[in-house]
Amino acid sequence: MIEIDTVSKLFGAGDSAFRALDRVSVTIKENEFFTLLGPSGCGKTTLLRLIAGFEGPTSGKILLDGQDLADKPPYRRPVNTVFQSYALFPHMTVAENVGFGLTMLGKPKSEVAATVSEMLALVRMTNLADRKTSQISGGQQQRVALARALAPRPKVLLLDEPLSALDFKLRKEMQLELKRLQSETGITFVFVTHDQEEALTMSDRIAVMSGGTIRQIGGPREIYDQPSERFVADFIGDTNFLSAEMIARTGDSAQLRLGQGAEVTARAGQVDKTSGAVTLAIRPEHARLVALDAGQLTGTLDDIVYFGTDTHYHITLDGIGTRFVLRRQNSPDEMRPVQQGERVGIALASSAGQVLKD
C-alpha cells in the first residue's frame, strides 16, 4: 500500500549536508499496524514527515496505492498525522478541532457534526466536546489529536510517538485503545516509538532503524527471537553476546564451538557464513542455571538482582571473562538457592541462540 523506494533525505547542502535517511526501502501493507522503532535521532520523524508531505525526499520515491506522491502537497494526501506535540488548534474547541479536516474537505455541516460525535464517542471524549483544548489534560489532548486525525477517514494514519508524553499507567491504557481503534477502523497505522516494549506489544510488523537506515523488518517475534545483527539484538531486550567459531553449517542451522570448548547448535538463517568467527546472541531467559558440570558454560555468580516477577543472575564466564546475564521467572517452588560468589553451570536451550551478521 505504501511503498518507500530507496528514499534518502539530506538536510543542508554540500559537504556539511546531514544524511537523515539513507536509501530506506520498505513496503507497508493495507490494514497493518506498522511500527518504526529506533533510538532518538535515527530518522523516524523524518520518514513520517516525508510520507505526510511536509518534506520532500532528496532521492527515491514514495508511492501510495501505486501512485507517486512526489507532486502532492500534504493537503492532497489521504494521510493524517497525530503529532508528537499533538498540535491541537488552541483557538478552537475540542469538537471544532475534530471537525477541521472534514470542514476543509468541504463536507456539509450535518455530516461533519455526525462524524465529530462519532469520533468523540470512539475516543470517549463526548462530554468535553465544547471545551477549549487548553482546558483538558494531556491524556485527553492525546485522544482529541487521535480523533481529529481519524475523522476524515484517511487511508494511512501516521503517529509520531503519541504516547511518550503520558505517564506509565495512561500509556498502557492508550496502547490497548490504539490497538482497538486500529482494528475497529481498519486504517493502516504507521506508528513511531523509541520504546521497544511498546513496539513489541502493539505492532503487526516492526522496522528497526538506526542512523537513518532500516536494520531489520519483521514481526515482533521475529525481531525479538531472530535479530539479524548486534544493533537489533542489543536495542530490543537484553542480550548476551558470545564469540564463537562456526564449525559446520546445514541450512539455517549451524554448529558452533564456544570459547570454553562446548559445542552448541544455533540458528543462522540471517548469515551467509559457513565457517569462521561469529557472534552468537542469547536472550537471558533462554539459559538456565545448572550444576557446575551439567551445562555448556561455567562461571562465577557475581550478582543476584531481584525484580519481583523474575530474578537476574550476573555471571562472569570462566576463562573468557565475559559477563553473562541469565533471567529466571520467580515461582513458589524455589529451586536450590545459589549464593553470590558460587561457581555455577549454564545450560543453553537448544537452538536458542542466533548467529548475527556483523
Binding site: A52, G53, F54, Y75, S85, F100, M104
Partner: protein
C-alpha cells in the same frame, strides 16, 4: 567570593535615576497642568478651567486638522499593517531564500534612515510626480505615512508569527487545508493580537509625525502636529497644551490597549 556587581549600590545611582525621571516627566506634567489653566499665560497659573479645551474644540482649523490627522492615520495604519502582514509571512513562513537578510534589513530601513533625509527625498520625489500628473491630493501624505509606519507594524506581527507553533500550520495542511485556508483559519486567528498591536502602533506613530508631513504636505493640508507647529510661530496659547494633552491621552490609551492585546490569548 567577590560580591556580584549591583548597579544600585553605586554612589549617586538614586540621584541620577531620579533626575532622569524628572527631566522626562516634569515638562509633560507641566504641559498637562497648564492645559487646565484659566488664564492666557502658559507659564503663570490663574486657576482651573476647561476653557482651552472648549476653545480648541470649537476652532475650525483644529477641527479640520484633527479630521485630516485621523483620516491619514487610519488609512496609513491599515495599509501599513496589511503590507506588514505580508512582509512578516515572507520572512518567517517561506524557505530561506537568497537575499532574505537584505530584504529583512530593507523592511526595517525606515527606522535607520534619518527622518529629515526621508522627508527631503519624498519632497523632491513627490514634486516630480506632481509636475507630471498635476495631482495634489491626500495620497502623497498617506503613502509617506504608510511607508514609515510599516516597520512599526511589522515588528509585533513578526514577533507573533515567530512565537507561533509551526506544527499547527502543518496540522492544518495535513487536515486538507490549502495554504490560503490554513492562513485564514489557523494563522490569522492567532495573529490578531499582533495585527492589532501593529495597527495601533502605526496609528500613534502616524498621528504624531511632524517632519515628513511638514515636507510632503500640499498647501492647506495641515495635520494636528503641523498646525501646532504653525501656531507656535505666532501666538502661543494654552490651546496648544490642550491639544497636546488630548494627543497624549490617545497615545496612552492605545499603548495600554496594545499591551493587553499582545498579552492575552497565549
Amino acid at each position: 567570593m567577590a560580591k556580584s556587581f549591583d548597579v544600585r549600590r553605586q554612589p549617586g545611582f538614586t540621584a541620577i535615576a531620579m533626575l532622569c525621571f524628572v527631566l522626562l516627566y516634569l515638562p509633560i506634567l507641566l504641559l498637562v497642568a497648564y492645559s487646565f489653566n484659566a488664564g492666557q499665560s502658559i507659564s503663570q497659573w490663574e486657576g482651573l478651567s476647561l476653557r482651552w479645551y472648549a476653545s480648541a474644540w470649537q476652532n475650525d482649523q483644529i477641527q479640520s486638522a484633527t479630521i485630516l490627522s485621523v483620516t491619514i492615520a487610519v488609512t496609513a495604519a491599515f495599509l501599513a499593517t496589511s503590507v506588514a502582514v505580508l512582509a512578516a509571512l515572507a520572512t518567517t513562513r517561506v524557505k530561506p531564500w537568497r537575499g532574505q537578510t537584505v530584504a529583512f534589513a530593507m523592511i526595517n530601513q525606515p527606522l535607520m534612515v534619518p527622518e529629515i533625509v526621508t522627508a527631503v527625498s519624498l519632497l523632491i520625489f513627490f514634486a516630480m510626480i506632481k509636475v507630471a500628473t498635476g495631482y495634489t491630493g491626500l495620497w502623497y501624505l498617506i503613502i509617506a505615512h504608510t511607508a514609515f509606519c510599516i516597520p512599526f507594524a511589522y515588528m509585533p506581527i513578526r514577533a507573533r508569527l515567530q512565537g507561533m507553533n509551526l506544527s499547527l500550520e502543518q496540522a492544518g495542511a495535513d487536515l486538507y487545508g490549502t495554504p490560503v485556508k490554513v492562513f485564514r483559519y489557523i494563522t490569522l486567528p492567532q495573529l490578531w493580537p499582533g495585527i492589532l498591536a501593529g495597527g495601533m502602533l502605526s496609528f500613534v506613530i502616524s498621528l504624531d509625525d511632524v517632519v515628513i508631513t511638514e515636507f510632503v504636505k500640499s498647501a492647506g493640508q495641515d495635520t494636528l502636529p503641523t498646525y501646532m507647529l504653525g501656531q507656535l510661530r505666532r501666538n502661543i496659547t494654552p490651546e496648544i497644551n490642550a491639544i497636546s494633552t488630548a494627543l497624549l491621552a490617545i497615545s496612552i490609551l492605545m499603548v495600554t490597549a496594545m499591551f493587553f492585546f499582545s498579552r492575552t490569548r497565549k
